[in-house]
């Protein structure tokens, strides 16, 4: 690999592996701090909602999870674009490392949405535009993971998965727009989500929780990327050294 950009140096697994290893504890620590602060604000400080009672507090998980599920898909598509354009090995690993976390976030968002929906709307599931889009997003994550898992050759898996992500990211706005349109057209039980002005503490609680999820996602993605990296590079000298070191 030529040293044209600095990027290439960090994109080399031998450099990235120890760097990621030393960064992980910080991300974990920051995530815990934000999480505790966010939970404190959300569970204890934020006022009880006069319409929804205490049940609404699940949004401190639900909303950040939804944000992260969308954000992670964009980040994966970003890595995919880098990978296809510059042919860097790291990009594919990062995209694959992020996918399970993204899917987890989408699932969490749906699950907490259902828990919230039951007391709010009297049903576990309503075909609300956002819920439906979130469900489709989960399908997209699953499709990506299934495709990369089905391809044995890692290089082809990275490229094919990357292409799928780019196709997906082009389609996400179209899907969202059409689901929204479909929803307004079929408005049977019109449900209005949290239109009431939000208390400032609630907003802060949500932002802190979003930061916590964000840092968590980075930490877990780095851990997963390191594992993938070690597995793929097990025949190289640096990976052998790492593995030998771990056995001592």
């Amino acid at each position: 690999m030529k040293d044209r950009f600095n990027l290439y140096r960090f994109a080399s697994p031998a450099t990235f592996y120890p760097l990621a290893g030393s960064l992980i504890p910080y991300f974990v620590a920051v995530s815990v701090v934000f999480g505790l602060a966010g939970l404190y604000l959300g569970m204890l400080v934020a006022p009880t909602d006069f319409q929804q009672g205490e049940g609404y507090r699940i949004i401190f998980i639900h909303v950040p999870a939804s944000w992260m599920s969308m954000f992670i898909y964009l980040v994966m598509a970003f890595w995919a674009a880098i990978g296809l354009a510059f042919n860097t090995r790291l990009s594919g690993m990062m995209a694959q490392a992020l996918a399970p976390t993204g899917a987890l976030m989408a699932f969490l968002s749906l699950w907490t949405g259902a828990l919230w929906g039951k007391p709010m709307w009297g049903a576990w599931w309503v075909w609300d535009a956002r819920l439906t889009s979130e469900l489709i997003l989960l399908f997209l994550y699953i499709g990506y993971m299934a495709l990369t898992a089905a391809i044995d050759d890692t290089r082809r898996a990275d490229k094919a998965g990357g292409l799928l992500l780019l196709v997906g990211v082009v389609n996400v706005p179209i899907i969202y727009f059409s689901v929204k349109w479909w929803n307004t057209l079929h408005q049977g039980s019109s449900v209005n989500l949290t239109k009431s002005s939000m208390a400032e503490t609630m907003l802060w609680g949500m932002l802190l929780m979003a930061m916590c999820f964000w840092m968590y996602s980075i930490a877990i993605a780095l851990i997963r990327a390191r594992t993938i990296m070690l597995e793929r590079e097990r025949h190289t000298d640096w990976a052998r050294a790492v593995i030998a070191g771990a056995h001592e």
Partner: protein, 222 residues
Amino acid sequence: MLNIIGAVIARDLKLAMRRQADIVSAVFFFIIVVSLFPLGIGPEPELLRKLAPGVLWVAALLATMLSLPRLFADDHRDGTLEQLALAPHPLGLVVTGKVIAHWLVSGLPLALIAPVLGIQFDLSADALLVLTGAILLGTPALSGIGAIGAALTLGLRGGGVLLSLLVLPLYIPVLIFGAGAVDATVSGLGGEGHLSLLAAMTIAAVGFAPWASAAALKIALE
């Protein structure tokens, strides 16, 4: 440019004509799936009329999925795909030809048979017309988007199931606007808006998808 697209279409149509059983099976699959719904739901005309657009469209999506795995797999197995990739013109044009040919043998027959099935669901003449138009307009997008999935899953084990997993979520907008057009006509709102959006999606899909499929094919051929 039109030369090569025409040559691919001519070849694929000739091949399809030598294997008409495949076309006929897909059409019968469509008919059977659509006919199963009244058996599952009950014969009440009011209910069936309401469900018809969605049922017909979902069945059309599934029927299209049937022929997709073979879009590139046959050419891949006998080596002609390599020759197509080595031909002195962009691979995207070849795929465009294949997508058009796929639509002619899979989407077009569905559109032609759809009004007959619509009658089973007691749709009005207006609704039948819009239904046929919507399937005519929307199915090329299905062939186009499907080609990307077919290229990505080329030669993989369990390719068929995987293909549905990748492609069906991407079909949702076509489903929504295709069925929506008929719905809007039935409820007296007029389906023109839906049909124009459907046409826009098809133009975008047929213009863009072959190039994405070509990129996926090159990855698969490495």
